[in-house]
Subunit: 228 residues, 2 copies
DNA sequence: ACGCCAGATTACGGAATTGTTAAGAAGCAA
DNA sequence: TTGCTTCTTAACAATTCCGTAATCTGGCGT
């Protein structure tokens, strides 16, 4: 019986609030990480891979709305629940927040029981996919996000992290063309700036390692994943 | 004398009650420890490793609800039965108590026979899981969580505690990648901060002692358990 | 045919990450 | 205390990964 309830990332610029929430959730067995602003939040989220993010709206450096936009743009956070923390009377944000991908919001001041309940139900909504392995299959190709592996006809193919992430992105919408720009933002993030050829090189490595032609080039536009 | 029935930790701030229960249970062969509040309870529980905890709800320093939460958050108490002691008319607590992991509750004033019966059945419910050894086998490798041993092809391998815990965690979900972060939190705990190389060193020792390649490194991500 | 352009390919160096080792600190038992 | 094991750290080695630049290829319009 080693089920642990989940990993939660708390994002707030007020240390007291972080401390308070952190204490409450730790006592319920959650694993906790914290960030003090949007920039840090995205960095830590990549690293920590939380099941749920508690996101304050008002923050320096990068506010909650902007942060959630970027998170939602990255495929790796597709199944991460996000709950907004708002000051009372901030209804205008709440609506906007829900529109762009928040799953719930909680008004400050925070009541522990309410927090626990909301977190529990948000996690439950997302959990069902998460319990079992997250994998996709396309014919003979299998991409397993839980195991970080790709296999073709049962044979494992060893991809590096960036290669794997890139393939995951393309495979998330088979047939759809991803613009180079979009790929950059979603795999590398908004802050990171890399040259244009970088994508090509990674695409090439994937093609080379996998052996078959899964990625089609759409000249002047981008790339798409497609089993021939 | 038959086999000893079990170890029980009594947690109550009123010495009379502790004394009364203690006397009753000792006469039935149980080993008894006592604590006067939640803080002491957790400390003694770690030390004494009771099979069952009798926990008063109303206590100074840290109440029963909070205490049980913390206990249930620790994996080492997964198979410890917990029975609440409540004053009459405290039904609201009873429901909450059961929700967060109590196995039964007994209303004060306490009747000795009732106490013995309830304890007996609570222990019996937990005992059967405990009786059989919790072990996993992967090919020639066997991990025995009750005996704290690992063996390969029948030969015992002596792992240190941290090494064993680390291996257990990885082996709990074969194939799944555990992020370094997650490993740190789940093996070392949330508060403890250790350097990054610490994990590697332990991984190395496991690999060295076991001899075969069970643990695969996923660069930039973490480690996973995998029989080749 | 020529030049142009977007992408393909290749190789290389720096950066980031992990492996390895040894030594000291901390813990524990006798 | 002493002697032992375990844990952690720090330093260095080894490895892998990533981004870039330089060069190549093939399609397209002129």
């Amino acid at each position: 019986m080693e089920v642990f309830p989940g990993k939660i990332l708390i994002v707030d610029d007020e240390p007291d609030i972080v401390e308070f929430i952190s204490y409450n959730l730790k006592s319920k067995g959650y694993l906790i990480a914290a960030a003090k602003d949007g920039v840090e939040a995205i960095r830590k989220a990549k690293d920590f891979r939380p099941d749920l993010i508690l996101l304050d709206i008002m923050m320096p450096n990068k506010d909650g709305i902007e942060t959630i936009r970027e998170l939602r743009a990255m495929p790796e956070f597709d199944d991460t629940a996000i709950i907004f923390l708002t000051a009372l009377n901030d209804e205008k944000y709440e609506i906007e927040g829900l529109k762009i991908g928040a799953d719930d919001f909680i008004s400050k001041p925070i009541k522990p029981e309410l927090l626990a309940t909301r977190i529990g139900s948000a996690l439950r909504r997302f959990r069902k996919d998460e319990e079992q392995e997250q994998k996709q299959t396309f014919g003979d190709l299998e991409i397993n996000k839980t195991k970080f592996t790709v296999s073709y006809k049962g044979v494992d193919i060893l991809l590096a992290k960036k290669e794997f992430e890139l393939l995951c992105l393309l495979a998330s919408k088979p047939g759809r063309v991803f613009l180079r720009n979009e790929i950059l933002q979603r795999v590398w993030g908004t802050d990171v700036i890399v040259g244009d050829r970088t994508i090509d090189v990674h695409i090439r490595k994937i093609r080379q390692k996998v052996g078959i032609d899964l990625i089609t080039t759409v000249k002047g536009v981008g790339y798409k994943f497609e089993m021939s």
